[in-house]
Amino acid sequence: MRLLTRALALSIGLAALTRSPAFADALFDGGKLLATGGVSQVEGAGGGGLTSWAMITGYGTRDGIGANAHYTAVALPDYNLHTAGVAVGLFDRLELSYAWQGFDTQDVGGTLGLGRGFVFHQNIFGAKLKLVGDAVYDQDSWLPQIAAGVQHKENDRPAIIAAVGGKGSVGTDFYLAASKLFLAQSLLVDATLRETKANQFGILGFGGDKHDDYSTQFEGSAAYLFSRQFAAGVELRTKPSNLSIAHEGAAWDLFAAYFLNKNLSLTVAYADLGNIVIKNDQHGAYLSLQAGL
């Protein structure tokens, strides 16, 4: 609930900020085509659900600014994951994001002696810089839009992380994303490489007793555009397996995103996050709401 309250407060603040007409018109030009800013991925960057894309979030063109707030919930059999965040896209060049993530261990927390409903929190600060290409306009070229990004994560449970074999509660991911709209085929494709030490996205800290170096992980997604407002597709994200207490595998999802307009989108997905600590088969419903301009 605390997360939801924060997300709502951020949205209202954003709406109030943009009520001033002259300011809003000049800066928040809302000039991008619908859906081309993507949605908010699980760590707060512009992208799909699990994957970070090369697109800069929001609907600002290179002459303007876009901004949004999002709330995401993933309901798994034994855990719940909530994320609330805000992001701004500056001149279709630089994206800055902040997300606050809570991972509720529910009954598992009791089993592990942490206490039922024990929650891990993460602050995630993100930045993404568009380097080259334009995913939408460059239909006469095979060059994708390429962006480099960073996500700095701070977990609030260093003692528990150390107890499960994690080496740190703070970590930084680096990624290089390539996204391309194959417009004639109505297909959006993304491939991202991520340098990371994160265990379960950082929820279980960074590095581990088994492996404590950065490793290169892959994120990929493909979405078919059914209409200007509706897209559906699949995503895959590999993760390192640094902890000896449990093997960590890849996550994937099947998603559908509906863009009501440039101010509101809803993403629903079936997400399979695999094994998380002592529980296998953590798959369930993913729901994400993004409001912005």
Binding site: V136, Q139, L176
Partner: protein, 141 residues
């Protein structure tokens, strides 16, 4: 070595190009010349009614724009026409169009294809894919 792997990413995306054949299937799918004429007229109607961009046309000869757009759409769709108007650079020089202006033109064209002629979304996108690179010539600001 890891950094090398990261740098080779664009190569991974070098997907095989679909043949942009010399066939006129897109022209036919847009309804041939009658369909394209309707799309061009509906687009211009939308432009002139769109507060975001209507002022761009305040000094223009609208009849000539309609005629040139019909020729141009026909040729780009692979139809048997020859566009003899100005180049994209020349036609938009001095207008100082922004990306937001360009995207407004795109949205109005999308709306036109839907309302005038019920062009399926996938067909709309085949057409838009051939128009999209014009952004490089049209947007000068």
């Amino acid at each position: 070595m890891k950094r090398l792997a990261v740098l080779s990413l664009p190569l991974l995306l070098a997907v095989t190009a679909p043949a942009l054949g010399a066939d006129d299937s897109l022209y036919q799918d847009l309804g041939g010349q009658p369909g394209i004429d309707k799309i061009a007229d509906a687009s211009v109607d939308n432009y002139l009614a769109d507060p975001r961009i209507k002022d761009i046309f305040s000094e223009s000869n609208i009849d000539r724009i309609r005629a040139e757009l019909k020729d141009q759409f026909c040729m780009i769709a692979g139809g048997p026409c020859r566009y003899t108007g100005h180049s994209m650079e020349a036609a938009h020089k001095g207008l100082h169009l922004t990306n937001a202006n360009f995207n407004a033109l795109v949205e109005d064209l999308q709306a036109a294809m839907e309302t005038c002629c019920n062009i399926p979304f996938a067909t709309q996108n085949r057409f838009l894919a051939r128009l999209a690179p014009m952004q490089h010539q049209v947007v000068t600001r």
